[in-house]
Symmetry: C3
Subunit: 341 residues, 3 copies
């Protein structure tokens, strides 16, 4: 594809030779002739000078580049589109693999692909063009919308309801039993059957090995456009709004509510029954233990206002000095007091 | 089922119209006519007034309710039983799916169900009525007791020994190799073959994507009635007692011992070779680095007495002020000292 | 095997009766007649006196033992070898299981074993003697070297390149999509197709349920001899050097670089785009947020020099006292100042 054609496709302003043939997207460091690269963050503009890319996607504020440029206000978005144009994803041939086990009562939409050894339970429904990779297990009465892509070894348990264009990475589990037990007087734990619903709305992505539990009553819900990274725990009865971002290894305990646009960074957690308001941000490794106001940015263990935490936590390393200084001040003060008695 | 019959089944005292038909258990918020709800914690009694449930399970101390009541000292336990009565779990038809791979030397008890694409290794034994969902892999010589329920994509490796009424959620791994290496002088790591045993006693539940490793020598053991949530790591040679609770994303390093009734909250961890005494409690996100006495409640990084930690950790945010105050005091003191020289 | 023969195999100096028959390796506590045990750490020499082992592997500095001894400077390494000699691992019969789905364009080396329900994609290549356990899914064009052992339920996605003697424990995922999204002006997130490479070099081990993501451009790479425990997250574009150790539940965010010999302890994490120098060590639960110098030992949240952190963090519990002492000093100082006005 010529750079001129690509500029039109991506809605970028072209500066340089539009006849250049571009065949691949690559990072600034590894790019060579024929590659299109990108500078997502104008802070790193110095890296541009060393690239061997044939062209780069940049913000108009970037002053120089050693090659042709595609200018746009949103270089990262244009890069995302360029990957799609230059590396169109293949997709498996529609049809059901001879070695899949599809219950005869399942409803399979047009142009669905079902891979080897996939299991589709009784009464399950798959929307048009959905791709079920090998070794996926879909329980009875589960429903998936159109254009989903469910990767290998995913478990979708009975009755789970999944929207359209949902992507689930390998070995994630949707609809496993919530962790609910009632303690008997003898110290043993009685299991509470988890028979509630799990709903995953349109355009959600769930990472590899993440788990979304089913509650005893009511539902666990993940809102439209929310993206969940790998190894994330979403407990029973959690309600997650739209366009939320959960980074890897985040854990959210039972019945907690995340409103739209919340962002939780890696390895952070939220205790049960708390509410994170719209657009709240949680720092990496933080532990949310109480409600977070809309738009608030919190960090720490326990999580609280982020700047306060950052300014305080660096002083932990100064505590031995502070303790010594305090003892020193106390001794000097005692000496003065003694003199003046 | 009438409310009167249910009261008898649950051992509750009925107050209200026993002829009401109850068909479902639901939360206070979503309950409607025909639904039974519950108030597990008397603190939230105010929520009762808005429910549309036909009946609620409550503690006798709760004063009013807008509907019929089932009174009991243990409302959460009665709720657990009500779910079972009103939503009896289905179970797959006994028998071996035509597409399962069961070694001919495996011993399969009466009324066992084995799902599609399950693999049962040579010499494995499955007790009566155990349910093996699709895509479970059970290694050679592994033993499972009666009435177990092993969900899809679980790996149970060779020789693992599992008791009766054990539930393992999807994609958990039991008996993977412990993380054991001997460092050579050249900096490379020689694998130590992990050929020890894994024993899971009766009535244990293991969550989705949790891992229980096998040791090089000796055994890893999980005691009767212990409940483990999702994404938990139990390393090689760990010994866990009875009725222990491990919340999601907990990690326990090699050879650590947890006595009966220990509770570890979400994302907490314990280093290797430590001992948590009976009934010890570990707060969320905490890092246990040394022995914990029976009944002790610890929290923090590193974990120690919980109240001390909680009172200290909130002052981290005050450290910049304390530092400034300390400098101020020091300056004022120096001024006084100078005057009095 | 006689102890004399074993001494020769392990390169140890024998002290005691070389005619003893040794059949098993066991821990000091559980060893009985016929068992070989070991003392990896001379600190625990007191435990030797109670063992019923027939022989022990010890460092020459250990003075007494109640049984025959195999002396070596590296007892842990000798123990590792003894396990191999006395418990030689079985291996499945070479060949392809009748219920495996192997694409006809895949190249399968000599003496490869492929288990039931394994899927091998188009154009994939497996080196000699590699073992593919049941339920492994290997994507199209993926390459594995010789003598690998891939356990059940592992996903190796399209085009992933794996060296020789690589071990992957159950349910790990190699080559899942990196967590890359570009935010649109309306707050929704556009997926960036992740079409980069994943390379795992020779002699790597990856633990159960760990995930190694594929980047959008460039590669994710794990260097030769690196060992990764269970439930570890390796994000897109991470570069890991040789002989690195990542303990359980570690998380490494995108594009971070770990040089050779780095060690990260359990539940620690590193943010994106940072560099850990050769031999750097990260304490358990720590959060690396900036570059770490070669050989540096860091701990804490955020991570910094380890001794400073350890000495500071224990004083968090003293903060209420320090605050009170500071207030007390301030009051006494104010009183003095007033007197001297």
């Amino acid at each position: 594809m010529t750079l001129a054609d690509l500029a039109v496709r991506l809605g970028c302003r072209l500066e340089g030779d539009g006849a250049i043939e571009v065949v691949r997207v690559a990072s600034l460091e590894e790019a060579g002739p024929g590659d299109l690269s990108f500078l997502a963050n104008a802070r790193y503009a110095a890296r541009l000078s060393d690239t061997h890319a044939s062209a780069v996607i940049v913000h108009p504020s970037v002053e120089t580049a050693p090659c042709a440029r595609l200018e746009t206000d949103q270089p990262y978005l244009a890069f995302a589109e360029a990957v799609e144009v230059l590396t169109p994803p293949g997709r498996p041939t529609p049809g059901v693999h001879a070695l899949a086990a599809v219950d005869r009562s399942a409803e399979i939409g047009p142009d669905v692909s079902i891979g080897a050894f996939a299991c589709i339970g009784a009464g399950a429904r798959l929307g048009a063009r959905t791709i079920i990779e090998p070794h996926v297990v879909i329980g009875g009465q589960a429903v998936l919308g159109e254009d989903c892509h469910i990767h290998a070894h995913v478990s979708i348990r009975d009755g789970v309801c999944i929207g359209s264009r949902v992507i689930i990475q390998d070995a994630a589990v949707i609809g496993s039993d919530g962790f609910g037990f009632a303690r008997r007087r003898d110290g043993t734990h009685k299991k509470i059957l988890q028979v509630g619903r799990v709903v995953i709305e349109d355009d959600v992505e769930v990472g590899a090995q993440s788990a979304v539990d089913r509650p005893a009553v009511g539902e666990t819900r993940i809102g439209r456009g929310t993206k969940i990274d790998n190894l994330v725990q979403v407990a029973h009865g959690v309600h997650i709004g739209r366009n939320v971002i959960l980074a890897a290894q985040v854990g959210i305990a039972g019945s907690t509510v995340l409103d739209d646009d919340v962002v939780m960074a890696g390895q952070s957690g939220a205790t049960g029954h708390v509410h994170l308001g719209r657009g709240a941000k949680v720092g990496a490794k933080s532990a949310v233990t109480k409600h977070v106001a809309p738009g608030e940015h919190v960090a720490g263990i326990p999580a609280g206002e982020v700047t306060e935490w950052r300014e305080g936590v660096v002083l932990i390393r100064r505590l031995p000095d502070m303790k010594k200084d305090l003892a020193d001040v106390e001794a000097r003060l005692a000496a003065l007091e003694a003199r003046l008695k």
